[in-house]
Structures are given as C-alpha cells and as structure tokens.
Symmetry: C2
Amino acid sequence: MGKNIVVGQSGGPTAVINSSVAGVYAQAKKLGIDKVYGMIHGIEGFLDDRICDLDDYLASPEGIEMLKRTPSAFLGSCRFKMPKIEGNEEIYDKIFEVMEKHDIDYLFYCGGNDSMDTVKMLSDYAAAHGKKQRFVGVPKTVDNDLPITDHCPGYGSAAKYIATSLKEVIRDNSSFGVKKPTVCIVEIMGRNAGWLTAAAALAKSGDCEGPDAIYLPERVFDIDKFVNKIEELSKTKSSIVIAVSEGVKISDGRYVCEIGREVAVDAFGHKQMSGTAAKLADIVAERTGLKTRAIEFSTLQRSATHIASLTDINEAFQVGAAAVKAADEGKTAMMITLDRNGDDPYQCGTSAHDIHDIANVERKVPDEWITEDGCGLTDEFEAYARPLIMGELTPLFANGVPVHLVRK
Amino acid sequence: MGKNIVVGQSGGPTAVINSSVAGVYAQAKKLGIDKVYGMIHGIEGFLDDRICDLDDYLASPEGIEMLKRTPSAFLGSCRFKMPKIEGNEEIYDKIFEVMEKHDIDYLFYCGGNDSMDTVKMLSDYAAAHGKKQRFVGVPKTVDNDLPITDHCPGYGSAAKYIATSLKEVIRDNSSFGVKKPTVCIVEIMGRNAGWLTAAAALAKSGDCEGPDAIYLPERVFDIDKFVNKIEELSKTKSSIVIAVSEGVKISDGRYVCEIGREVAVDAFGHKQMSGTAAKLADIVAERTGLKTRAIEFSTLQRSATHIASLTDINEAFQVGAAAVKAADEGKTAMMITLDRNGDDPYQCGTSAHDIHDIANVERKVPDEWITEDGCGLTDEFEAYARPLIMGELTPLFANGVPVHLVRK
C-alpha cells in the first residue's frame, strides 16, 4: 500500500511559500507517494479535517509552474499556537485521529519560528506515545530569523522587493532639485530581527547611491541622534531617504510606533507594528522644518510574487522536496536547512536538522555586520544577501495583471 | 543651419515620463534636428541655464531602451508655477534669453495640468511679443485628469501597478481563515480625480474577486455608510479589502485625512494628502472591533517602472515623437492628445490640440461610470481602462535589481 502525506502552511505568507508546497508535491510523486493532501488553513483547519487533494491542482507541470507564481498561502494559513501537551491531549489526539483517518504517514509544515514549534510539539507527542508518523518542518519566513539554516526561503524575494522598490523610491524622491531636500522615511517589516530592513542596503548599486541611513531593531534607536543625522545630511543633499525597521525601540524599551498611542496584540502576543515611519516623519518635520514623507512597504513585502527572486523560488522548492526525502528516509522531528557552500559563485545545498535546536530560537543580524555608526551594513552583509535576490521568474500575465492559481 | 530643441519634465514623476523624452529625442533625430537639449529640473533649472545634451545619453539604441526602463524624471523635475505675465516680464524674458542663447527653436514640456499652464503662458508671451519659437505640451500624469486627450501617459502604468499590487494584497489578506475578517484599507493617489483609485477595479479577474468596495473623490464620503458597508460585509466574508482615494471628502468639505489634524500645503497650494487609510482603519477598528490594516501605495504608484505597462510606455514615446512632429510642421501652443479609435481591439492615435482648452482644466471620472451605490465602477470603465495596462517591458536586471539610466 502506498504512503500518504499532508502539507500545511502557517504564519505570515511569503512570495514563495507556495513553491515549497510545489516542491513537496513534486518530490512525493517522484517517490511514489500515493496521496498528497494539503491542510486548508494549516493545523487549525486540519483539526477540523479540512484538507484538499493536491492532485486536483498540481498533476500537470503547468499547475506547478502557476503555483510557483502565486503569492500568499495557496492552502490558507493560520496563526494557531499548539498548547502544551499536558492537559491538552485532546487537541493532539484529534490531530493524530485525522492523520490516521486519511492514512497519513508524514506531515510537513511550512513556517517560521511559531510553526516550527508546532512541528516540535507534534514530534514530541508522537515520540512519547509511540506514534509512527513523521514530522518535518519546511522553513519559510520573510523575517529570515530561523537559526541553523543559512537563510530562510521567503527572505530573498522580500529582500528583492525592498531593494527594487527602494531604488524606485530613491529615484522618485530625488527628482525635485529644490534647495531644501525632502526626507523620505521608509518603514520595513521585521519586529525583532533586522534582516528585511538590512536588505535596503541592496538598493545601492552603480546607478543608485542607496538609502542614506538604515536603522535596525538590533540597536537601540536614539531619536535625537536620528534627527541630527538628518539635519547633517540636509546640508549637502537634495534628497534624503532613510530605511527604518518597524521594530525600532527607544532606550526605555518602547517601540517608536508606540510613542503616544496604544498598539494591538495578535494571537501569539506579538504587537501589531505600523506607523513608525509616520511617527518619525512627524518628529523630523517638527524639529527641522524639512518636508517629510512616510512610506510603509506594507504586506507587499511578503506578497509581491511578481518581483520574486528566482533563487528564492528555487530554494523554497528544494526545501519542500528535501523535507519529503528526509521523511521518506526515516527522519522525523527535523527542519530542513539551507547550507551555503560559497558566496561567489553562490552555491547552496540542503540538510535536515533537529527541530529542538530550532523551534522558538530567533536569529538576529550579527552585530559585526552593522556599521560602527549603527546605521549601515557592512560588505559582509552584502556578500551574504546579494546572492539571495538574484534571478527572476516571469509571471504569466493576462488582462494586464499576473495570473495566480486559486483553490476551488 | 539645423534646428535645436529643448525638452523638460515637470510635476510629479511617472513610470513612463522618460519614455516621452526618448520619443522626443528619437523623432528629432529622424527629422534632422541638430541639438536635443534637456532642461535640468524643468523650467526652474532652465531659468538658470541648466541644460544637458541628450546625445550624451541617447545616441545609442541601448540608451533609449534603458531610458524607457528608468522611473522618475531622468532630467529632474520641478514644481514651478509661471507667474502672470504682467509685472513678471523679466522671468519670461529670461526664458527666451536662454532659448536664444542656445538657438532653441522648439520647447517641449512633459507634464500635467500645472505644466500645461506653463506651455500656455510661454506660447501666449511668444505670440504677444512676436517670438518665433514654438511650444508644445507632452501630456504626462498618473492622475489621468487632463481634458481632451482620451487618457494620459503615466496613468496606464500606475493603474497596472495598482491592479497588480492590489491582487497581491487581496491574496495576502485572504490567507487567514479566521472567523472574524481582517479589514484592509488601501489608500490610492488622486487628490480630486478618482482615476487611479478606479483602477483598483482592474484587480478583479477570473482568479480574484477584486476589492469589496472602491471610494472615489468624485462622491461625498459618508463615514457612517462606509462603516455600515464593512459591518455588512463582515457577516459573510473572511477577508475584506477596500480601496479608497487619498482625496475623499466628508460632507463639510474636509478631506478624511484632515479630520483631527493639520495637513501641509505645496507650492501650488495643493494639500499634501496622506493618512486617509490609517484614519479610516482606526475608525473601523473602534466602531466594529474588527482587526484592521491600512496600506498606502505611496509614491511607488508613480515610480514602479519594473511593472510598467508596455502600452503606456509606447504611448508615452508616441506623444513625445508627435510633439516634435507637430512643432516641425509649424504648430505651437498645442498639447498632443491620445485619440482612441477602438476598445477591442484597442487602437489609439495622436493629434495636437489648442493648449488653451487644456491648461488648468481637470477631468474627473464620468458620473455614469460610478455604480449607483457609489462604491464601484461600471463595465464602461473597465472597457476604457483595461487596454491601458496591457503588456510588459522586461527590465534589465543586474545584481538582482532593475538597472536605471542616470545623468552624469
């Protein structure tokens, strides 16, 4: 009798999370897996037995190509935190019941830190209860903050969107040659880790000087120094563009976007960030009299598949495929990692690593990659990040807009 | 002796304003024009005799192709309002002095309403003072609000960006299948005319239901009705996405973004719009308890050349070329118009029209193209706008980001 598997997507979507599902499907079929199910809205939907058969969408090569070009979570996502096992056995039992009902042997879960915790909890429960099912995590997060893996699928595409859009914003902001410069403050995602904001440095190239300063959440944000820096720049420049993480905090521990207002909190207890650039633009305008503009790159950072990185799409596919291979080789309680073998030329492979070293561990931008003045990135960061944004995958356009694959 | 010409760019940049400069240059060279100068920062820079020789950038076909792929104003833009002639003759004299110094016969100015006023004023001055130079306006505005012309170069690309990005935002917003929907409010440019916001309707296609409601500045904005609409939608939908113009006004005439705060004013007396979506998101969250998110498409709407419309790029080139042809045939005090000959298949030509019918006239979205409930667009709008976003021009990518042409 053939084996069956299920794959789910969890947490914030990325431009390439669907490519991982395509990788899971393609590898499973190559290995003779019978049914490849998709969880509708992650483990939350799976608890209600909501699944689909991916043969319905991916049986043809065109289906796989279209899925690679589809942003956001094709299967639907969720933000469901697995409770601790003791006292919550019924939730775990329910999940194994659904798996057993469909004869599911391997479960794959695409996500970031919180989702890897789900993989860990399910593996731990299986180990403790003599369950034979296998669980492998598929890394996915624009935040790039999973440990052990060199980088996370989803990051390269978000970084490419940020670098490309910032280049365009810098061009736009510099079109006016007025005496007093316009100060444009661009807010970039990343609550605690500054990987995405650091990608602003990739806008710099022969035809673009890049942003004038980059502020990561890894460093305490000093509003006075920030304003002074802009005043200094305004003496010589006709356009000033600053990249700032949504998660920058002042010395008393408050987020900049919390100054003077309350912020909402999500299911994981994470604060909803927003308004950092607007707040800073107001402060700069008030203190310097300069014209300011605030831009938030918003959810487009994680969903702009039309400008996704081909390297990222391919690696997302590879980690999906590697997860199926690992499970089929008997591995469980693992996450697939990307292992870099070289920067130039860039080379990268995959392996599997114990999920217990990964779940709930957050990796930040190394201190030595941040310049001494705290508002720039070193060449080491560039060497690390540039290869991840290389290459493009042309969307299929119809009616003037990119076409996406949709669930029926 | 050969003729010389000068071209300038003015007002807010667009994704294709440079394609018009390329069109001016290419046609001029075809007609045997000697020097094609570019004004550095429009008429403001021209007053200081700041010009460049476009041979330095565009003499090769690659130069022209790169310029077509370069966002924002390659020559630099300005927001300079020509004063009334009486009492300000010295400014006009200065402009003609610079023209005469460089033996410039024709002046071309790419811009929107304010820039066409510059063309009108210079033509009027020339006529009154027996000057032989000719002045032709090249239409350019993402706002699409110039009269007589069927549409304006710059609009199609901004509309394509909006439709594409909104599709991606809708996918992202719908990835979570929670019981209570997230309400995502997307703010789109357009102070008085709703053309850009209307382009949100183009996100709708076989694979996307489009935004749930679209609010144009052509209609008075009723906050209570707006909140009621969202509450109604929230009863059946797991994701709500609303497009709203930055320029919507409530019944007392105030912009929504002015409620509870002061807004800055630019050189033309235009208020700096921003914060409409954030304001509405706050109101909806407070009144309904729903989770909300505000997105501003920001200046990327006008500068995202990486997703420009090929139709728009080509038409921007054509109006530039047509302007040179018109001047060379003896025309002055004109603006080039785009004249549609058919929707399906789409066909469009160019002609020249008296600038006096155009300058300072603002064209809004026709009332009959707005649905009766005031928050949608009719099929007539779709038939009008869809052809303008068709086609793509692949950027040249290097180091993972699109390459732009820069002035030395």
